[in-house]
């Protein structure tokens, strides 16, 4: 019969080239970025460079100099991998070394939509690594049950934006189980809920959220956000080994963008320590996850332009959090800025600022400044105006010093 399927290619040639300004592709992001690309004349925005940032370990030597790594790992080999591969390797290590470990979630069997579970099903079988039906409340409840009977499930939520159907399970069950069980000691420690979070340039309302603060409000859960491949591997393995349930938020823009040398062997990193990434004497900048790169770029410019010295701290564990490291730093610098993507209102910055105010008030030279998302959502066309960028952090440093 006459009806033939339409071929794709001939139509492609009919599309005329787009107008000039849309052609600029963001340096670090090979994907579509035109909603939030910085203009060509920008000096601050668009200067995050994952190939040169000092946040990532570009050589084996710097990677292994990390004093938090165990001795045997520090003398072992490293491999340059990106963040999704680091997550994959952590799960692979856990599956290999602990038969209680399970990995499941929506679409994870073929490798997951972000490729974090690649080859795990093939190598460990469908009993331990499997697809779940499309129900977050179902799969998280299932994970809680499995953990409560001695397994160590790693459950994936496809996007942090889709964790809410499981909210009841996480808040009323997961977090409270140990407390309500008392002497029976029934709890769901060993459960890790992994989820990609944060903006990527074109995620709009439902592929951009950072819901960490919805979980930090609730005691009983541990909330962790890694900044890099080394951190992702070590913190994820620590979370799997931890006897408290953990919410592990993976900044999804870093899955591919952040690449560094990562020890090949298994290791854990502390779940109760913030990390000072760069020391400084005039301002403390506290952040976690993707905005750390924004902060680093802003600090570089600010130190050069303004002649100041800025300390940068990665919270790493958002709750419970390392209050001491932050307070000690602010007691030294007298100025603090907290930076995060999620909205400022009742955010992590509010908690950190209040803690600083209570614990270091007499040392403060200026009010604690929050640089965070505004009280709105991440509208597709407006992301660059809503999420903290290098210019906003730079401006905050400048203002806090001039205060």
């Amino acid at each position: 019969m006459a009806a033939k399927p339409q071929s794709l290619r001939p139509l492609a040639s009919l599309l005329r080239p787009r107008s000039a300004y849309r052609c600029q592709q963001h340096q670090q992001q090979p994907q579509f970025r035109s909603y939030s690309a910085a203009p060509p004349g920008a000096r601050l925005n668009g200067t995050v460079n994952y190939d040169t940032t000092s946040i990532l370990n570009h050589t084996s030597k710097t990677a292994l100099s990390n004093p938090e790594l165990p001795e045997n790992v520090r003398t072992g080999p490293t491999k340059s991998i990106n963040l999704y591969t680091a997550v994959n390797e952590a799960m692979r290590h856990a599956l290999q070394t602990d038969e209680r470990v399970l990995v499941f979630g929506e679409d994870i069997q073929f490798g997951g939509v972000f490729r974090c579970t690649m080859n795990l099903n093939e190598d460990f079988g469908t009993e331990r690594v499997f697809n779940t039906p499309l129900s977050e409340q179902g799969l998280i409840g299932f994970a809680i049950g499995a953990a409560s009977e001695g397994m160590r499930p790693i459950a994936e939520i496809q996007f942090a934006d889709y964790v809410y159907p499981a909210f009841d399970q996480l808040i009323n069950e997961c977090a409270k189980m140990r407390y309500r069980a008392g002497k029976t000691d029934m709890h769901c420690g060993g459960l890790v809920v992994r989820m990609p979070a944060g903006v990527v340039g074109h995620g709009a309302l439902y592929h951009s959220q950072s819901p960490e603060v919805l979980f930090t409000h609730v005691p009983g859960l541990r909330v962790i956000i890694p900044r890099s491949p080394i951190q992702a591997k070590g913190l994820l393995l620590a979370a799997i080994a931890c006897n408290d349930p953990c919410i592990f938020l993976e900044p999804k823009i870093l899955y591919r963008a952040a690449k560094e040398h990562v020890p090949v062997g298994g290791y854990t990193l502390p779940l109760d320590k913030a990390e000072i990434l760069k020391t400084g004497s005039d301002v403390t900048v506290v952040s976690y996850g993707t905005p750390l790169y924004t902060c680093e770029a802003a600090i570089q410019k600010a130190e050069k332009d303004l002649g100041c010295s800025v300390e940068l701290i990665d919270l790493r564990t958002i709750y419970p959090w390392d209050r001491e490291t932050i307070l000690n730093s602010v007691r030294k610098t007298g100025r603090a800025i907290v930076v995060h993507e999620s909205m400022q209102n009742a955010g992590v910055g509010a908690e950190v600022a209040a803690t600083i105010q209570e614990g270091a008030f007499t040392r403060l030279e200026a009010p604690v400044k929050r640089v965070a998302g505004w009280a709105t959502f991440t509208g597709l066309a407006y992301e660059q105006f809503v999420i903290p960028d290098v210019a906003r952090v730079y401006d905050a440093i400048k203002k806090i010093i001039e205060y």
Partner: protein, 461 residues
């Protein structure tokens, strides 16, 4: 909603008289004894027992579990076969020749727009797209069998519904390029359309959340129908995938719609996949249709490649939703997702290329209708060529126009969070303005309508 169909407001005084509105929901088929719990007692001679939770269950001494695997699969309704030949001429196709040609034109337009937008995304000209290949008859056919006043809730792969209801190419393109003409103010990802005039709620990426909305909206419509018997009655219809039907929201929606007698069509597009997840990992029952009985909902399974079957079943379903004072109907439309899940997906990572090719060859909703049209000498190769050339030109014209339009004003980043902009938001806008004014070279503002003035206006208000 639609002004065209009159605003059905309930006068405050009358709204309090609950009986006016609850009346239609009491279906005559429910025996009175259902309400009388005390009648659970049974006489020794009785064959049935009236437990409050199971009506009319027969007593038995056989220790037997019901087994879904022994039951025949629910049949699939079709009107014409793969070759476009009508199975039962007496029943007919329920469609005039002109209607059929128009429907075919719409399906071709949808498939041309899909092809162009998919390719455009590959070229980096928009961030995202989702095609309907293999499901054109479901969305266009179902939409053509609903009234324009009916309220529709979509998942995301229902571009055909918008098209058939009258969403224009300019509206599609404005949304996809998030330009200033987009009624969503450029806030949503491409294909998350919405239209007040067409009574379609705006798509949200979160799966299944719209299904209970449809149950509640239908209940509102039922009350308003009772209030204004002079206006044509309206119903609600919601579309969702077989994957989304695993969410709790699906189950909650069907159950509450059944208990409240909501006039709503739950339309499942079962295309065999939820991203990579095949139906065997999604459920173990007989598709989605088998769930209807569990909720006491009348259900039909339909061949989604047969646009006539789609139309006939939705026409009938619509009629049924308004019977007995209102009730939900479940329709499962069978299809195969021919394309990738979205532009972010490469489906050959989890399914064989030949599997897709086989499906395309075996059956296709466009080919089927075209064969029927050709059988009636309503269509031929020449008409096909002319149509495709014209539609391609239309789509590309709208594309070029929309791509070069201004972006929406920056104030829309902050409005509509609450009904009015708050004091906190104003202070944040002031802070943002300060940054934008201090570092003008850092931002791309000139492509947004009104530049910084739209933000200044927001702070002043």
């Amino acid at each position: 909603m639609s002004l065209r169909h009159g605003i059905r407001r309930i006068p405050v005084g009358r709204a309090l008289q609950a009986s006016t509105y609850t009346q239609p929901s009491i279906t005559p088929s429910i025996p009175r004894s259902w309400q009388r719990w005390s009648s659970a007692a049974v006489s020794p001679a009785s064959e049935r027992i009236l437990f409050p939770g199971a009506l009319n269950s027969k007593l038995t001494n056989d220790l037997e579990f019901t087994s879904p695997s022994t039951a025949e699969a629910i049949p699939t309704f079709r009107v014409m076969d793969q070759d476009g030949v009508v199975i039962n001429n007496e029943r007919g196709v329920g469609t005039t020749d002109e209607e059929a040609v128009t429907l075919y034109t719409q399906m071709v337009l949808l498939s041309i727009m899909d092809t162009i937008m998919f390719e455009a995304q590959r070229q980096g000209r928009l961030s995202f797209y989702m095609a309907s290949a293999g499901e054109e008859a479901i969305t266009i056919g179902a939409s053509s069998a609903l009234d324009i006043g009916d309220v529709v809730f979509c998942q995301y792969r229902e571009t055909g519904v918008y098209l058939q209801r009258g969403f224009t190419l300019e509206q599609f393109m404005s949304q996809m390029f998030s330009n200033h003409k987009d009624v969503g103010h450029g806030r949503n990802m491409p294909v998350h359309y919405g239209s007040r005039e067409l009574n379609i709620h705006t798509v949200s990426s979160t799966l299944a959340t719209q299904i209970p909305h449809a149950a509640g909206a239908a209940y509102a419509l039922k009350m308003q129908n009772a209030q204004r018997p002079d206006l044509p009655p309206r119903i609600a219809c919601t579309f969702f995938g077989e994957g989304a039907a695993s969410e709790g929201d699906f189950h909650g929606a069907l159950n509450i719609a059944a208990t409240r007698g909501s006039p709503v069509i739950f339309l499942c597009r079962n295309n065999g996949f939820a991203i990579s997840t095949p139906t065997r990992d999604q459920y173990r029952g007989d598709g989605i249709a088998s769930r209807g009985a569990g909720y006491g909902i009348e259900t039909i399974r339909v061949d989604g490649n047969d646009i006539f079957a789609v139309r006939e079943s939705i026409k009938e379903a619509r009629k049924k939703t308004l019977e007995d004072g209102g009730k939900p109907i479940l329709v499962e439309m069978m299809a195969y997702r021919v394309g990738h899940h979205s532009t972010s997906d490469d489906s050959f990572a989890y399914r064989q290329r030949v599997e897709v090719e086989d499906w395309k060859r075996r059956d296709n909703p466009l080919t089927r209708l075209r064969k029927w049209l050709e059988g009636r000498e309503l269509w031929n190769e020449q008409k096909e060529g002319e149509l495709r050339r014209k539609l391609r030109k239309d789509v590309l014209g709208a594309f070029a126009q929309a791509e070069n339009e201004m972006k929406p004003a920056l104030k829309y980043a902050f409005t509509d969070v609450w009904e009015n902009v708050t004091e906190e938001q104003k202070s944040q806008v002031t802070e943002l303005l300060g940054v934008l004014e201090t570092y003008p070279e850092e931002y791309d503002i000139e492509h947004h309508e009104g530049g910084l003035d739209s933000l200044r206006e927001l702070v002043k208000k």
